[in-house]
């Protein structure tokens, strides 16, 4: 099955859409079908692979990249509207 999202590290809880994903589309990560997208996600943007609770870290490359500012459901778009930089990030 052709993937429409890629996950770089096993422990990541988000994948990157490699093409425009529409709400309801099957999200296929690294060849495996996982679930339906909860909303539209642009190419290059992040889709939550699991529920991420408010205050929980979003992981890419196995590392925290941002922190959720509200509960994020599986299949939702993850970006600056529902996350904040982790401590130590330049953009504060």
């Amino acid at each position: 099955m052709k993937s429409n999202a890629l996950k770089v590290n096993e422990s990541d809880n988000v994948a990157i859409a490699t093409q425009a994903v529409k709400k309801g589309d099957l999200v296929i990560v690294n060849g495996r079908e996982l679930f339906g997208a909860a909303e539209d996600v642009e190419p290059g943007h992040k889709i939550a692979l699991l529920p991420i609770a408010a205050g929980e870290d979003v992981l890419r490359y196995g590392e925290p990249i941002v922190r959720a500012t509200c509960d994020i459901g599986r299949g939702e778009w993850v970006h600056v509207h529902n996350t904040e930089p982790v401590p130590g990030d330049l953009k504060e």
């Binding site: 890629l6 290059g44 490359y61």
Partner: protein, 382 residues
């Protein structure tokens, strides 16, 4: 594993056997370019300074120019000076250890007549280089510089992780890999610290990155957030940490063995960090002066820029860019997205291509003669 390279007297090996014709100061650029037009086989190095600046900038310029002359890809150098400049051409040529090097001074040799003399000298050098044969060289003799330029959302998903896989292989074979562009480590000092071979190195890296962050804040002020640009956010990056993680992934997973200053030669093998700006042109100059014989350059939006005397291998992060600039890209990591190719497989392809380039295969930037050169300058002109 080995490649066929040019052996130098100091025991290092070059992947090319270039004759460098270099200006010690901008005023001499014209003569260098004239020699280059007469002899397309030489590599010309022209630049904007060599004078009119303070001692620190001069010292960096000297280190870069001397480092290029010293680079194992260079078999012979002709340095053209004006005569009154701060960065003296004769001292540059004299400093070239165990190598063919000569200096010509425009004010002594009669102005543009220096061009004629320069063509004679460079022609002799070219003949000598042609006579030299490649010999077997261990992979461990390679110093591979890493660069990312014109990054997009996919650079950190395709090209950079694939280069990281190749970097791990190089380190495994005993070679040296240089991670540079300190600006693109902002947000990750705690991660890099963990990956250092010693606690002391960890502190050094942390200090380096934090100082760079301070400099960025001090000079860009409110616009410091520009380090993550609106284009990056539109493209999907949510934080500088995310952007920098995507950048450092091209260094692979091995331990960091050393931290070196801009344009200095690493003394250790394996993965090392060099302090350079994120600006591609100056970053490549630092690594070339540090002895890199090859540069792996990932790009999302595309860039044709190569570097004098050093083959630069362009790895596109996506097929659109690869297909849009077919004559400038050496490898398409976009197949990770389009064909579901594994990162490891693309990493192997990058490694194999690097080895072929080391043995003489030309990169697009070399074929197109797209060398770009400039070095770090931080102070004012006078």
């Amino acid at each position: 594993m080995e490649f066929l390279g040019y052996k130098r007297e100091d025991g290092r090996f070059g992947v090319r056997n270039h004759v460098l014709v270099m200006a010690s100061v901008c005023c001499a650029n014209g003569v260098v370019e004239a020699i280059g037009r007469a002899l397309p086989g030489v590599v010309t190095v022209t630049h904007a300074y060599g004078c009119g600046c303070g001692p620190e900038d001069l010292s960096v310029a000297r280190r870069v120019l001397a480092g290029l002359i010293d680079n194992p890809n260079v078999g012979a150098s002709l340095v053209i000076g004006l005569g009154c400049e701060s960065l003296n051409s004769e001292s540059l040529a004299e400093a070239a250890q165990c190598k063919l090097a000569e200096a010509l001074v425009i004010q002594k040799a009669g102005g543009t007549a220096t061009t004629r003399r320069g063509i004679e000298v460079a022609t002799k050098f070219l003949e000598k280089m042609k006579a030299q044969e490649r010999v077997p060289a261990p992979v461990s003799e390679l110093v591979v510089g890493l660069e990312c330029g014109g990054s997009d959302a996919f650079s950190g998903v395709t090209a950079n992780p694939a280069v990281g896989a190749a970097a791990d292989r190089f380190v495994h074979e005993g070679a040296t890999v240089i991670l540079a562009e300190t600006t693109e480590m902002i947000g990750t000092p705690h991660i890099l610290k963990r990956r250092c071979a010693t606690a002391e190195l960890g502190e050094q890296v942390e200090r380096l990155v934090n100082e760079q962050e301070k400099r960025v804040r001090a000079s860009l002020g409110e616009l410091a957030g520009m380090v993550i640009a609106p284009g990056n956010i539109e493209g999907g990056l949510s934080s500088i940490t995310e952007k920098s993680l995507g950048c450092i992934t091209k260094a692979g997973t091995t331990l960091i063995n050393e931290v070196v200053e801009y344009a200095c030669r690493p003394s250790k093998r394996g993965l090392v960090i060099m302090d350079t700006p994120g600006y591609d042109i100056e970053s490549m100059a630092g690594m070339a002066a540090g002895g890199a014989q090859l540069i792996l350059f990932t790009t999302g939006r595309g860039s044709p820029a190569g570097f004098p005397a050093i083959p630069v291998i362009k790895v596109a992060s996506n097929s659109q860019t690869y297909n849009n600039m077919p004559g400038d890209m050496d490898l398409n990591a976009g197949s990770i997205i389009d064909e579901g190719k594994a990162i490891e497989e693309t990493g192997r392809e990058i490694y194999d291509l690097s080895m072929r380039v080391a043995g003489g295969e030309q990169t697009c930037a070399e074929t197109n003669r797209m060398a770009a050169f400039g070095y770090l300058k931080q102070g004012p002109s006078f």
